[in-house]
Symmetry: C2
Subunit: 340 residues, 2 copies
């Protein structure tokens, strides 16, 4: 690489160098730097100075080899690093990086072979723990081949094994926020448009929505949720269909922001005022969608980075031999903008 100017040292100083310069043994140097052990303040200072002048930084690999801790966790994301895993990942990285733990990124692209490959790699590197995250909220089978003493936390997609540690979004509470908001602003004829029924994120939210409505003595417009896909196009189409079949609808609660945006587009183009005539609530609080919609969407923020953060904290607990098994739910927040 051999650029001239900006470099620091040509060969890195080792503890032996420091010890030599301070005229003590390596053991003493080590203790001086770690602050442990008893020694004359003057000696300690001499070591500190030596380390300073040599720009000494301990070799993590050597430390890890000795202590058995790598100060590293694996972050497996099962589908690319999409819109959902990214904030989770960042939340985790943030919480872990605050300590001296680094994150090894592994993307399996949903491929089991790749997952195994990465997993072996992580084991070989003696990671202290693993966080697994996926795009879907559907439960996933637990990782296989993880060594006993390496804890695993599942984020976003819980493990199918309830004895594992999982951190998920509280869809139930999220739907409650949305429905409460709509009802408290006087809406009673509420439609629910969402993604494919075979996605947990769609079917769960639909079920919760109906439960909350039932508690208020209401039921969905047309009696049932509208399953489709997560796209704007589906939002546009379903809005048309609902308007035709139930013109007195006064609110749409949508399974995600893209659908919600599609719905608002159809409404606007049909000359229906949002939220005056019909209110629209989205889900996810995906900025680019929610803010660009006309009007900007009132929506449920899933707080993905908080999920990542909690997952990291639970992992740290488990690494520290104080695991909290089970499913941990992270509450959502209602973000009120102009659409409801």
């Amino acid at each position: 690489m051999a650029e001239s100017g900006r470099a620091t040292t040509r060969t890195r100083a080792t503890l032996t160098d420091v010890a030599a310069l301070a005229d003590v043994s390596v053991g003493t140097a080590s203790r001086a730097l770690s602050g442990s052990g008893r020694m004359r303040p003057e000696t300690r200072q001499r070591v500190l100075d030596a380390a300073q002048t040599l720009g000494f930084r301990p070799n993590q690999q050597a430390q890890s080899l000795h202590t058995g801790r790598s100060w590293t966790v694996g972050l497996m994301t099962t589908d690319g690093i999409g819109r959902f895993s990214t904030p989770v990942l960042l939340g985790a990285e943030d919480a872990l990086g605050a300590g001296k733990i680094s994150v090894l990124l592994c993307d399996t692209r949903g491929d089991l072979i790749r997952e195994q490959h990465h997993l072996r790699n992580l084991m070989d590197r003696r990671v202290d723990g693993i966080i697994v995250t996926g795009r879907r909220t559907d439960p996933r089978p637990p990782l296989t081949g993880v060594h006993d003493d390496v804890p695993v936390v599942y984020a976003l997609s819980p493990s199918t094994d309830p004895a594992d540690i999982s951190v998920v979004s509280d869809d139930h509470q999220g739907c409650g926020l949305a429905i409460d908001h709509l009802i408290s602003t006087g809406r009673t004829r509420i439609a629910h448009v969402t993604g494919p029924a075979h996605h947990a994120a769609a079917s769960d939210r639909a079920r919760f929505t109906q439960e909350f409505l039932a508690e208020a003595g209401l039921e969905l417009v047309l009696g049932k949720p509208h399953f489709g896909d997560w796209s704007e196009a589906w939002g546009r189409r379903s809005a048309q269909a609902v308007l035709r079949a139930a013109p007195d609808t006064d609110a749409f609660f949508c399974g995600n922001d893209q659908i919600a945006r599609g719905v608002t587009d159809t409404l606007r183009e049909s000359g229906i005022a949002v939220p005056d005539d019909i209110a629209v609530v989205g889900y996810d609080n995906w900025d680019t969608m929610a803010l660009a919609a006309r009007p900007p969407l009132t929506t449920i923020d899933v707080d993905l980075s908080e999920i990542g953060r909690i997952a990291a904290l639970r992992l740290l607990d488990a690494i520290d031999d104080k695991p909290f098994p089970g499913v941990h739910s992270v509450p959502c927040r209602l973000v009120v903008r102009d659409s409801a």
Copy 2:
């Protein structure tokens, strides 16, 4: 973690264990497994069998400590892990993971303190190299404090130091694709709407666009590019302004897909047919935008994951002591959909 069923071994087998089981010395065991050194085939087989039955996997930390290579590279992303860095990151991870190299993820959130913190961490971990990526295409100052023998590759945002290794998108060629396409489909009154003038991505593309038009004996509608921000709202507003001032405009070339989408929305709502009356070309090929627009956008694909891949390959070269300094441009692709 103490689940019962799925585990493998309670304590991991070490090379010493393998050697003991095979009744050879550790040195011999090591050579048997690495395939180097001469020995009786029978002995080698005995070691292989022992390793197999014990499920032996070499401890990477120990290997690294000895060989001085960590088989690890740092991936520093300077602003969250946004829409731009993510594909770059994945491309890099893919190219590196193909070997046995793992990726350490560091997010600086644009904070210099954090950058230094992460950098020290990476140095302490003896990474073999570093890839730096940012959201903007503006050049960035080189990393400071990197040890001499650790190569760095800058992806997406080039380093201001031309002696560094940078991999960027070929904006010049990309603009050429767009303008060629528009001209070859008979457009001559082309407007350019883009982001803030102080973003290289905006000013560069604007300049290149004008150059290509000039080559064809044309110039921009209203004589100059329209700088604003990267939002749909700006796309909508500027489209209105352009239509008012230059009603004979027959094409919009936009600095990104969000602006392009805003433009198409305004056109559609003004009763102007896209692309029959006016063509629209975006930039970035951001699926969620380009596909959801009406009509779906013809746009320039920046091939971010290829940038990541190339960056990884250049880094491997440099790690291998065969660096190719300078700026490497990755060509864009024209994706033709329905808007032009």
